[in-house]
Structure formats: C-alpha cells, structure tokens
C-alpha cells in the first residue's frame, strides 16, 4: 500500500471531522505555505470544533482510515484543554489536535481560509490569527515564521482585524517591535545597495 503523504493526511483528516459533524482548521506548519515560508515538520497541528457527543463516532471514522485515537483520549484533551495525537498507521506524519474552546480559538475556526486542492479541501487559520498566535507562542522559530509571513503576505493583512487579536493575546508590543526591526533591516539593505552602487 502507498504511504499516506501530508496532502492526503490533511485532506483525509478534514473530511473525517466533517463527516462527524465538526470543523477542523490547520495551523502551524500546514498554514505556512499559504501565508509564509514553508518549513519542515512531522506533525500537522489542527484546531477542532466538535461536539462531545460525537467523539465515539469520530474515533470510529478515523479508525476506518487508519488514524488512531480513542474517545477517552478525545475527552481528556477536551476537558484538560490539552493536545491529542492522531497517529497515522499509513504514513509517517501525525495530526496534533486541540479543541477550540476559548473565544480566540472559536474565532480562528470562524475566520479560517478554505484551500482547494485536486485531492480535496481543507481549512487553514487566517493570516491575522496565524501571526498573532505565533507571536503569543514566541519561540525563535515562531518569530522567524512571522517574519516570513510579513515578507510574503504583508499586503493581505487586515490591520483592523489584526489589532484586536494582538491585543487579546497581549502581543501588540512584540508585533510593533518586529515591524520596526523589519523596517530597519529594509532601510539598512537599501543603504548598502546605494553604497555598493556608488
């Protein structure tokens, strides 16, 4: 049997969540090719919106396509607001799921962008949420991801949408610093090019 690649995993998982009556939005490295610079990953991070009453059915649907979890694991992740891993028996990638429960997470699901591939459709977080959540996680890799998003999709950001999300997550200042840093680097680059041309 052919191994399941990342595209197939994302599409299969999305359609399973929908079959169970829920919604699923991919974030992190799966959203990066849409908004910024792609990077290596072994996991697909997903935000799930699914009623607790559907956990049994969802686990059964996933088992049918070789993705392993149990209703108990789903319940634990839901109640503890933690992550649940869906191990793929048919490929090397796995899905890391988290249930959308906070207002910010529910808004992430609401405003997601639909991606249509020949293999099927799936959703990724909007550019504003992708930036804000990455800044709130704050690792060196997350900041680098945001630099890439600003360079590639800066013109698609709606400042009126982004502002309140940054404020909610307490990262307005970090975002400003990053913008200043990018503007400073841009000015230095122009200066160097001018000097080189003289």
């Amino acid at each position: 049997m052919t191994k399941r690649d990342l595209t197939r995993l994302v599409v299969d998982f999305s359609s399973s969540v929908e079959q169970a009556g829920g919604r699923c939005v991919f974030m992190g490295a799966v959203a990066l090719p849409v908004w910024g610079r792609p990077r290596a990953t072994a996991d697909a991070d997903a935000l799930l919106l699914l009623s607790e009453t559907k956990f049994e059915a969802f686990a059964e649907i996933l088992a049918g396509i070789g993705l392993l979890t149990t209703p108990a694991d789903l319940r634990d992740a839901y109640e503890e607001r933690s992550h649940v891993t869906f191990v793929d028996q048919r490929g090397p990638f796995h899905v890391d799921g988290k249930f959308a429960r906070s207002p910010a997470e529910l808004s992430e699901v609401e405003s997601a962008k639909r991606i249509e591939l020949p293999e099927g459709t799936f959703y990724v977080t909007a550019v504003e949420e992708t930036i804000a959540f990455k800044l709130s996680y704050g690792s060196a890799q997350d900041l680098e991801d945001v630099r890439g998003i600003l360079a590639i999709s800066g013109d698609q950001i709606d400042p009126a949408r982004l502002g309140p999300i940054l404020a909610d997550l307490g990262v307005t200042q970090v975002y400003r610093q990053l913008q200043e840093e990018i503007a400073r680097r841009g000015a230095e680059k122009v200066q160097k090019q001018r000097k080189g041309g003289e």
Binding site: T7, V34, P38, A42, D43, E80, S82, H83, T85, P92
Partner: protein
C-alpha cells in the same frame, strides 16, 4: 492544564514520534512536505 504545559507535552510527544523515524523516511517526508507546499501555493495563486 495551562497552555505552556500543553505545548511542552506536545513537543515531548512529537520528539518521541520523530525519533523513531529512519533516514529514508525523513527524506520521503521532506519530499512530501515540498509537494504539499508547491500544490498549496499553486492553489492560493489561482
């Protein structure tokens, strides 16, 4: 569980799953990631 603890546990779990992979599998995954990125960029452009 707070967000920091949830993320720490997720990272530990990811590392454990990742450590079990062979070199060939890692190359296959890199190829799969590249194909995914290319087809997503193509879909976004259209």
């Amino acid at each position: 569980m707070d967000e920091t603890e949830a993320r720490r546990q997720k990272r530990l779990n990811d590392t454990r799953l990742d450590a079990a992979k062979s070199v060939e599998e890692r190359f296959w995954m890199m190829n799969s990631l590249s194909l995914f990125a290319v087809s997503v960029r193509e879909a976004v452009r259209q």
